[in-house]
């Protein structure tokens, strides 16, 4: 069975936010409006976090694109009282919007703040949306799914054509949109896949590794910054 994962090369990231916009369009992620955004209610499954480099005399800004890290041992799924969030056998941490009661325990438990809440009705079904992704109602938690619907589509296409799914047939919108190829996606359980090779790089690290959550989004450090 596949174990889906992602490598993000921070040396290549320019902070252009193409991944953020591609994600929003792909997953019907609502634009909450300026008023709500100022209140800290932006929903951004893929979020580019910024940090000013303290060691740089010019105050260079560093970027950290952060989707859901799809932990292999996710703190969020443990606390869900209704099985609305769970890790599926292929390692994707999923959210069942139709079951979520909106207690926000998973948000409080996620050390990466990768979960978002629909504080109001931000979006209703309408034209121009991706029909493969359901629109979330107010009062439920949502999050990055590694564009799980694309996996289902790729698998069905392969099935219809009577063949195995090829590597590269399923990639999330953010990886597809990245102009510098900073985001690489694939099957971590296949040692020959590009993503698995990169994950073995000496530059590879995981966010808050010491927490033992074992994220499946792996970062490559900035070579120069590290010296």
């Amino acid at each position: 069975m596949a174990l889906w994962g992602m490598v993000i090369d921070l040396d290549r990231c320019t902070g252009c936010q193409a991944c953020v916009m591609a994600c929003k369009a792909e997953n019907n992620v609502p634009a909450v409006g300026a008023k709500e955004a100022n209140r800290g209610r932006t929903i951004s499954w893929m979020q580019v976090l910024t940090e000013v480099d303290e060691h740089d005399p010019l105050g260079k800004v560093r970027f950290l694109p952060r989707p859901c890290l799809h932990c292999d041992d996710p703190p969020c799924t443990r606390v869900c009282p209704v099985y609305a969030t769970y890790r599926n056998p292929e390692g994707i941490v999923a959210q069942i919007y139709a079951r979520c009661i909106g207690c926000r325990f998973c948000m409080a438990a996620c050390p990466y703040n990768a979960k978002y809440f629909n504080w109001r009705t931000y979006l209703t079904e309408g034209p121009g949306q991706n029909p493969d992704v359901s629109v979330r109602s107010k009062g439920v938690v949502e999050k990055c799914t590694f564009c799980h619907h694309r996996l289902q589509k790729a698998r069905e296409r392969a099935l219809a054509e009577g063949r195995e799914m090829e590597p590269g047939e399923y990639i999330p919108a953010c990886a597809e949109a990245c102009p510098t190829r900073a985001i690489v996606f694939g099957d971590l359980s296949d040692p020959d896949s590009e993503v698995a090779k990169l994950a073995r790089s000496p530059r590879a690290f995981r966010l808050q590794e010491e927490l033992g959550t074992r994220p499946k989004v792996i970062y490559l450090t900035e070579g120069e910054a590290r010296g």
Binding site: E36, R39, G40, R41, T42, L49, T50, E51, L64, R66, P75, R78, V79, C80, P81, V82, Y83, A84, R99, C100, I101, G102, C103, R104, F105, M107, A108, A109, P111, Y112, N113, Y116, F117, N118, W119, R120, T121, S137, K138, G139, V140, V141, L207, Q208, L211, T213
Partner: protein, 446 residues
């Protein structure tokens, strides 16, 4: 069997007649409840966006209130059970007041979670798809067990008093007849009742301890800085009993004044409870000190962000306000209780109620305000919706309590009578058994 000592007629007076004060209180409380009702209607319609909650502070007033009110619930049943089991004679006018707090406040506390849900219409999913891996399910189990046990424990010692009302009072005959369960005060009935009360008193203690332990687990089972702590269970239980006693004292003083119960609730009762409050204050400080010192000494980066956020950061008024109201003021008020004991105990209790609310707030909100990753931060500030809901919660609790006192005697009539008739003799006999048997005049040995 159902005669009342004329001396105790005052205990039934609030049920027999209603004064103007009651309607004023009713109007005032209804106003606060109306505010909360409107706030909740707006929230239900527009979503939790009408509150001040945001990313990353996704829990605020509602969860603080939840922990606070569930904490208050420890006043009653636990204290009453301990006093009964230790056969403390001074318990007699207190136990029912305490037990009523528990039952009423548990409804309010559990209700906070319902208010906090984004999709309250799906609350039954907790039963339909409930998953015991989640500490919230432990809460649901523990709190419903506590509510059931507390209700039974409140009801059992009420039966003789309800029978009294059935026989004496002209009104609400059906209600009292049904609830009295055919009590006639026979020897056998009394024996069964006393046995049942003892069993419930023992049963209720472990349940009460479990309740606040699992409430703390909601926080300590996560990996978040200053939540992930092993002493949170006992720390929360101590805080719960602490705030519970304070709430009990305030309730006692209010009804002492309103219903003229000075003859029953004497300064000695408040001195004893004040001493208990002082012990809990020191215990609470001990836990708080240990918790923060270990955090500080470890010096873990994420812990320290939250730590300094509380000590000198934006949460300093809450943190130092908590230290002042939860430790310094009670300590100053309670160390010497010889004179002005009632005023001092009241000041300390009100202070502790404020302080324990602040304590719950400084546990819930600061941790969420300092995410590990470099997120744009934001300070949580409640809107009129949360304030209204909070005001309504307190008012609803007061209203429930008030209505209870209009239906049932708030001081157990039969237990006071029992104290007069049998308690004295029993204590004397018990005292004799403590003393060396050779002494002839042992009864004077006190």
């Amino acid at each position: 069997m159902a005669e009342v000592d004329t001396r105790d007629a005052i205990l039934l007076a609030p049920i027999e007649q209603t004064g103007r004060g009651f309607y004023w209180a009713l109007a005032l409380l209804s106003l606060a409840i109306l505010w909360g009702g409107i706030a909740y209607a707006v929230q239900l319609n527009e979503g939790l966006g009408v509150t001040g909650l945001h990313q990353p502070v996704s829990w605020g007033f509602y969860v603080t209130n939840f922990v606070f009110f569930i904490g208050i619930s420890h006043a009653g049943t636990l204290i009453s059970a301990i006093l009964r089991l230790s056969r403390a004679e001074w318990r007699r006018p207190i136990t029912r007041m305490a037990e009523v707090i528990t039952v009423m406040v548990l409804f309010i506390g559990a209700g906070q979670i319902l208010v906090d849900l984004g999709r309250p219409d799906r609350v039954m999913n907790v039963i339909r798809h409930g998953r015991y891996q989640s500490p919230l399910l432990w809460d649901a189990t523990s709190i419903s067990a506590y509510l059931t046990a507390s209700l039974v424990y409140l009801y059992l010692p009420m039966i003789p008093d309800i029978a009294l009302l059935r026989d004496r009072l002209g009104k609400r005959k059906l209600l009292y007849t049904v609830l009295a369960l055919g009590w006639r005060g026979t020897k056998r009935q009394k024996k069964v009742l006393n046995r049942a009360i003892s069993v419930m008193a023992i049963l209720v203690i472990p349940i009460a301890v479990s309740v606040h332990t699992v409430v703390s687990f909601v926080f300590s089972m996560t990996l978040q800085p200053m939540w992930h702590s092993t002493i949170f269970g006992p720390y929360f239980v101590v805080g719960a009993i602490y705030s519970g006693i304070a709430a009990l004292i305030v309730a006692m003083l209010i009804f002492r004044k309103a219903y003229g119960l000075q003859g029953y609730l004497k300064p000695i009762h408040f001195r004893y409870l004040g001493q208990l409050l002082l012990v809990m204050s020191l215990l609470w400080f001990y836990f708080t000190f240990t918790e923060y010192l270990t955090g500080y000494y470890g010096g873990e980066v994420e812990e320290m962000k939250v730590f300094w956020g509380k000590f000198t950061g934006p949460f300093w008024p809450f943190f130092w306000g908590m230290v002042l109201t939860n430790f310094l003021i009670p300590l100053l008020c309670l160390v010497r209780l010889h004179r002005h004991s009632i005023g001092k105990v009241l000041t300390a209790s009100v202070s502790v109620l404020v302080g324990m609310w602040l304590e719950r707030f400084t546990i819930v909100v600061p941790t969420l305000s300092y995410p590990r990753l470099p997120f744009p931060g934001g300070v949580y500030w409640p809107t009129w919706v949360e304030l209204g809901e909070t005001a309504a919660s307190f008012a609803l609790f007061a209203l429930f309590y008030l209505l209870f006192t209009k239906l049932f005697p708030i001081i157990s009539v039969w237990e006071i009578q029992e104290g007069r008739e049998m308690g004295l003799k029993e204590v004397e006999e018990r005292l004799l058994t403590y003393l060396p048997e050779t002494a002839e005049g042992g009864a004077h040995g006190s």
